[in-house]
Subunit: 267 residues, 2 copies
């Protein structure tokens, strides 16, 4: 296929999950046609594969359990999510977090020293975003000589079956303003997060392709990191994305199955 | 005292309340030493006095009752507060608010039509800042063709006897970010609010002095209005305020009593 010569160098793929592998819904989700087979074909080809998601309401174990039940041959080691990336960052910098996250995410931080906190980690805490909990996080930050706020994403809101809900980004802004600080965002589109995913993929950016449905977080973020990036026309894709003022994917594909077809033809 | 020549023209004082007259707290609050006597000396001197507060956790009636119980000789007419100013604005523009405010403030809005809301009024709701209540306000705003968010102040935090607490400004920022809108602020440091307080004081800005503990809301806001402004080293004052990159008070004083001592010496 014309215009895909650059894909000959590919050794690994980063895949967004929601909107690429499945569409989320009231019943927990519906696989996108051809995506489970596409994942099997990637693996059979010898290409490396890593899932790159901003999910922070479940541990990777529970997230993978859901994907496997939908027919996806994936393992926990193949998931790059904000919480484990935050754990690496915490260890690298000797940071001991106070956690304001969803209860179901807490096990991801089991091995992290949380005594005498010197930073705050903020996730999509949902019902845990109480007045008391937000004050506690604020008081810890404002009491630090150099406050460190690590936010697992910066989304504005998301849709649930009973309506739109405030996402972690709104609470991040509240704490940023109250403390006059800038949060460090872990998760797409942060460069550091894509670098983590590449490290787990074991492939340099020029030999990796990101495939996602979000023109800014997936495509723009990956390209900022030196990767090629494809946008699928599934999930949250909208035709207006093709006129985005700042981000232009290296190619469009109708879905993951078509992306894999074309990439494997180049090898 | 050197450098206070400008105080000779003073005819009226605007006083912030929390952090200047008393330190607030779950226990009701504790008067700051010398402040009740300072208020009496202001009145005895013939200077006019108006309290200019962003207090939104009580009606003015209850607020004044609390201050009088602490020994302050003040009346309801001497209090300029955001809720009555917001009510004027709502009436002028035919707005019907959804209220996310402290329970004790609700009577201030008794005469306002709140059916089928076409704006959100945000106050320091404290324990009412639940995840559910913030989502409700967000859902109403995001569902409006032209979202109108009126915030009773934009303070970052305030000091209570058991520690610092997030103020309304932090929640305002969360909603602004989630909805991609700008709130309209009623209360300090809005110019219009200071102008209301000056009108109630009955003194032009060049003959008024603002005394507060907040370098931005009190000092910066009053100076923007053409007033002189002093920062007290009580309440939420922090030594780092003295290096603020944008706002410089006309003078620092240790507390209200010292401010009144010096001002009365100039007359």
């Amino acid at each position: 296929m014309a215009g895909w010569g650059w894909a000959r160098a590919v050794r690994g793929l980063l895949l967004d999950v929601s909107g690429v592998l499945y569409d989320s819904g009231a019943d927990g989700g519906v696989p996108i046609a051809g995506s489970a087979e596409a994942v099997r074909r990637i693996k059979a080809s010898g290409l490396k594969l890593q899932l790159c998601t901003n999910e922070t309401q479940a541990t990777r174990e529970n997230f993978v359990r859901k994907l496997r039940a939908m027919g996806f041959d994936v393992s926990v080691a193949e998931v790059t999510a904000p919480a484990p990336a935050a754990c690496r960052l915490l260890k690298e910098r000797g940071l001991r977090p106070h956690l304001l996250v969803h209860d179901d995410l807490i096990p991801e931080f089991a091995e992290i020293d949380k005594t005498n906190p010197n930073c705050v980690v903020l996730g999509d805490a949902a019902e845990n975003f109480t007045y008391a909990n937000l004050n506690k996080a604020f008081q810890l930050l404002i009491g630090m000589e150099k406050p460190v706020l690590i936010s697992l994403g910066k989304g504005r809101y998301y849709k649930e079956t009973d309506g739109l809900k405030l996402d972690v980004g709104a609470y991040m802004k509240a704490l940023e303003y109250a403390c006059d600080i800038q949060a460090e965002v872990v998760g797409k589109p942060a460069k550091r997060f894509f670098e983590s995913a590449l490290a787990e993929l074991g492939v340099p950016p020029e030999q990796a392709i990101m495939i996602g449905d979000d023109i800014v977080s997936d495509v723009g973020g990956a390209q900022q990191c030196g990767m090629r990036a494809l946008q699928v026309r599934t999930g949250k894709y909208r035709p207006s994305d093709e006129n985005h003022p700042e981000v232009k994917p290296d190619a469009y594909v109708n879905n993951l199955a078509e992306a894999v077809d074309i990439i494997l033809q180049q090898l």
